[in-house]
Symmetry: C2
Subunit: 237 residues, 2 copies
């Protein structure tokens, strides 16, 4: 794995760290003080499921996929993680999933033992982590509804909307980037890559989206995409 260690986080700009959001400047400085930046190239592994958790990471730039594997190789991606998200926050000390970079990634890394101490010492920090974790729980439960009860079209529509909401640049143009491959999307939505392809094609033919390249899609009719995502579209795709 190719990595490169960068200057200490405190030396950069702590206001841009999601870890410290909403905390008092003094608290934020203490937390940023134990962080250091690090770069990973695409397709490298940050940690494995079950591995002892040595650190907590905040994504500064780029995208990672988190996934679980079954013994026979079936894979469930539990999340695509981008700027501002925390990973490795496992109180039981064992990572819950494997983390791999999808693109080149910049991280801010916090060593486990020092981090744990700050959780107990810095006022409001545990509360901040509680809010972050609860947000992840909310997302996981939405995904349970998607995985358990939505059709292929509903899943893809929901996914495209999620990616659009997350992409800062997308709001204006309606153009969304999908850095992950079709089989990554499939393993996130409980589909296979062929079904992802076919369903994207279907949406394209129906004029709901258009593709400039397989990686760059354009949302033409957002309202209909929302209806499709919620299964509200009359004829029940």
């Amino acid at each position: 794995m190719h990595t490169e260690v960068l200057p200490n986080a405190a030396a950069i700009d702590i206001n841009h760290l999601a870890m410290c959001r909403g905390l008092k400047p003094q608290a934020a400085t203490r937390i940023a003080g134990i962080g250091s930046f690090r770069r990973l190239t695409s397709r490298s592994t940050l940690f494995f499921e079950g591995e002892r958790a040595a650190g907590i990471y905040e994504v500064v730039r780029g995208m990672l996929r988190l996934y679980k594997l079954m013994p026979d190789g079936r894979r469930q991606i539990t999340g695509f993680i981008t700027k501002g998200h925390l990973i490795g926050l496992a109180p039981q000390q064992r990572h819950l999933h494997t983390a791999e970079t999808v693109t080149d990634v910049t991280l801010c890394c916090y060593p486990r033992t020092r981090f744990d101490r700050l959780v107990d010492e810095v006022p409001g920090f545990a509360r901040r982590l509680l809010d972050v974790t609860f947000d992840e729980l909310r997302a996981a439960q939405d995904q349970m509804l998607l995985l358990g009860r939505k059709t292929a079209v509903e899943k893809i529509a929901s996914f495209l909307l999620m990616m659009a909401d997350r992409d800062d640049t997308a709001d204006e143009t309606g153009e969304v980037e999908l850095p992950m491959g079709r089989s990554d999307i499939g393993d996130y939505l409980g589909l296979n890559s062929e079904t992802v392809s076919r369903t994207v094609t279907k949406l394209r033919h129906d004029g709901v989206i258009s593709l400039r390249t397989p990686v760059r899609i354009n949302i033409c009719d957002r309202d209909q995409l929302v209806e499709l995502a919620n299964g509200e579209s009359g004829s029940e795709y």
Copy 2:
């Protein structure tokens, strides 16, 4: 909804409250001080998805189901909640799901505003809630793997093992109680009630489990059930 308010929690035994587990006696006393017990009969609704969260609840006895609905009525049960679990812990103030009793239930209720104050004031309390929430997140991500990638047999096997692990009385005898109906199980596993029935029958014919009544099942071959749950069983059911 039939409810009945019981004495203040502090008057009972705070050591039995999961909310306070691991906290110092003084902290535990403060938290228990704002709790009060309450009973609900089976098939009553505690709160609705999207409703403003007025309180946090700890289950003392009985079982509830938490679920999300789609506009057309499709339902995903996100959890069956039993003794020691907390519900309603929504920092964004809106409930993420509907909560209904499956059996008669006893709860310990904590009013929202006072609870929120204690989260910030009582040392270690936010940390305790973080651990609890993280545990829920772990369960949700396991369920994502189940919903997205497991077959019907693997889902039912996983479910039975989960229920067995949770049931205190089951460890010895191997007998597990399933207070929820077949369609509840289906809506939890992303199956319909007929498929649940058929799959349970299949496991029964294969001698992995036996049924005294539809509600009382007996695990005959735990090892094989574990293999089935993980998709490790040679011929790939």
